[in-house]
Amino acid sequence: METTVEKKYTAKDFTSDQEVRWCPGCDDYVILRTMQKALPEMGVAREDFVFVSGIGCSSRFPYYLDTYGIHSIHGRAPGIASGIKLANPNLSVWIATGDGDAMAIGGNHFIHVLRRNIDLNIILFNNEIYGLTKGQFSPTSLIGQKTKSSPYGNTQPPFSPGELALGAQARFFARIGGGSPKEMGQIFIEAQQFKGTSLIEILQNCVIFNDGCFNHITDKDVKEDKQIYLEHGKPMIFGKNRDKGLVFKGLKLEVVTIGENGITQEDLLVHNAKEQDPTLHYMLVRMEYPLATGVIRSFDDVTLEEREDALTAEVKSKSSFTKTDDLFFSGETYEVK
């Protein structure tokens, strides 16, 4: 419901005067730069953007954008953002969060914000580690991962953010590597256009405490073979030679090669992000090879504020109360003379 504007902005208009203080080489720089470039493309007035964050490296994000912003407390950005959006549905509200912020301390808020489907956008910087507290395992760290708080290896099984999100009824889920700014920018714009809660998981490399954890998927030379970039309405095809694809075999997804065993491009599944039934989206989210990236789910549904607005309008149309005095003097009153 954000009002569109004619005014032309550049990335510079969205850059604050604050010195950026992430570690050199951190993927967060890519995400910030990509956002600064994407914001002018969204057709929203600068004053109508609000960035909200909790605590963690990612949560410094709002300070570096010249928009309205609030850097809140650990895990609580969804509550703050929900209040902002419900107070003023005309705003474009964004949450910057990390794996610990969203899924550990803020886990309850994270699932409920997705369930409610308020029109706001969540960028989840997933680096599978706690960075700001200097290197403890997070809810997405792998079993066996050695960290400062798991010197002999992590024993807690990880969440898959997409799986958790879909379980909480997320209507929009996208995933993208930190090294893919072009696609990332496009996803930011799609998330902004989507009416409802959008969740974007970014596989974000932490150069200090978990360096290279996504290299086997995101490195330039393996990326095309290890990832499938999904686009709505297009066949599920991947690989350097664009010769691999996905089909159903029984109840499972299977990787096939075009040209082998009589497989042609027509046999491949076509991605339907807008499907209400999340079954296939679940499979795509859980799939390890190839790792699904792009907009995996984008199902249009009624937002909380639309329901609230409709209900408020209905109640108003039926009520005889316009001022609080009408309420105070209604019903059982009596006079003392």
């Binding site: 604050s16 604050q18 007035a45 600068r46 004053e47 109508d48 953007f49 609000v50 960035f51 909200v52 605590i55 709002p62 300070y63 010249d66 928009t67 309205y68 912003g69 609030i70 850097h71 809140s72 407390i73 609580r76 969804p78 509550g79 703050i80 953002a81 929900s82 209040g83 902002i84 959006k85 419900l86 107070a87 003023n88 005309n90 705003l91 309850n108 808020h109 409920h112 609230e308 209900l311 408020t312 109640v315 108003k316 009520s319 109360f321 316009t322 001022k323 609080t324 005095d325 309420l327 105070f328 003097f329 019903g331 059982e332 009153t333 009596y334 006079e335 003392v336 003379k337």
Partner: protein
Amino acid sequence: MIETKIKPQPEKLEAVVIRFVGDSGDGMQLTGTQFTDTSAMFGNDIATFPNYPSEIRAPQGSLYGVSGFQVHIGSVEVSTPGDSVDLLVAMNPAALKTNLYALKPGHTLIVDTDSFNKKNLEKAEYTTNPLEDGSLENYKVIEVDMTSLTKTALKDVAGLDTKTISRSKNMFSLGMIYWMYNRSTDYTIDFFNKKFKAKPSLVEANTKVLMAGYYFAETLELIPNSYTISPAKMPAGTYRIIMGNTATAWGFLAAAEKSGLELFLGSYPITPATDILHELAKHKHFGVKAFQAEDEIAGVTSAIGASFAGDLAITTTSGPGLALKGEAIGLAIMTELPLVIVDVQRGGPSTGLPTKTEQSDLLQALYGRNGESPVIVIAASTPANCFNFAYEAARIALEHMTPVILLTDGYIANGSAPWKIKTVAEMPEIKSNRIKEVKENWHPYDRDEKTLARNWAIPGTPGLEHRIGGLEKDAVTGNISYEPMNHEKMTAIRAEKIERVKFNIPDLETEFATEGDLLVIGWGGTYGSLHSAVKQMNEQGHKNIGYAHFNYINPMPKNTGTILSKFKKIVVCELNSGQFASILKIKHSEFEFLQFNKIQGLPFANDDLIQQFKELV
């Protein structure tokens, strides 16, 4: 209108306390509120208090399933629901067993004898029937076979099931009480007509039973006389009976309208605060956004978000919830956003006594956060003035750009009393710190010179884009700053900002005496008990006792020291172990403070207060 035979001249009483008790399903709350409303219409001063069981549907006839409603009506000022009762209406043995302690010796007890059967006596753990074993000989017992009489009264009404018939026996008792206290049945019959508009058989049934009770009392020789309580002298105006929690909710509605802001409530259900959420959820017609969040923390954080975005934002809770909200309240202090937190106090610690009253969250409200995080704390003192103090909390939060904690408690939140209705026009102005236009060299932490309140620039305003957050702010630019001297400066500014609120609140006043031997001090929900006890002492000739009641706790009224200096002795009375006394000792160490404390989940009893005060003078 009722045609009756000529009555003996009713005996005049100044005040009476009646308690209706029965099984949760017996409709005691309805009986009590009908008697209350009828008496209010008649012009009496009133205070009521309900007593529900914690269990939602406790087994019938059980001791813990007893539900009660107490009402105190008077031709004189009534400031509490009363400690002991003049008339007890007990609908079953369990109700009698759990409430007899409150009945004054020699006073009247009405029982439904039909319910005193073997099964119910056993459930109430009576080994002998109290109606037969002589244990009630100190009371005037009126035995009525109420269930049978109700059945007889309804034998000609078609289309009623057994459940409906047995459920209407509460109206029989109400009819009796109406006769005894010389009250008209019109208001209640009118109520039936409205409530059961679609079911004429229920209107007929309830009316018949009510009148049957009324005529039964009239002809009953056990009730030799009826009583009357003349209208009380109250300021002229339009009144209604209001519960504390409703008054709190309405205070916020008025503040939102007056300030021209939309009202946002972020809340999570918790006893005894939930009724505020219930009430505000009804008022979508005023555009109220009542957001039931996933937990206490999301309740307060959503309110902080709404405040950042320009709404009048509040969150409501009780003690355990306030503990959970602590970190977020610190954020609101740091970001200097207007926010009202209502804590309807109950017995603690931990889950404590959810349905009982206490004043033990005071220190939590003042200090229950990390770092030096001063907050404004105010407290309502009667069911009706919850309206004023909710309004006041909103006014101060908006004018000073800071969170305000409003303390009420289970006693005043669930109690009800007459409220002289205030129009929004009568309420004081609210001047918010909103800025709408870009100024040269503007910063988000630019302050009002007088109040030190920062200006409030909300998202959607072009040119005022800015970032705030929980990290320490540079005093000038509002950017993150870890500078040692800046932190000390900001800590001082935040404290000074709260301190200056004392110039925007009324002075402390004393009642009954401006100087003398003893100053009784109270705060919050104990006003009714303390006021009436000191008044009674005064009427008994103790003219040297004054009473000062604090509604503003932090900061305290600026004349507090002057008031304290006028009395030889000071006693601080509170429903905790001495929390407010400890604050007074810190802030006014030049005086000695005696204490009178009670931590039983109950309000002060008048006799205990009188005894205590007599010992001190």
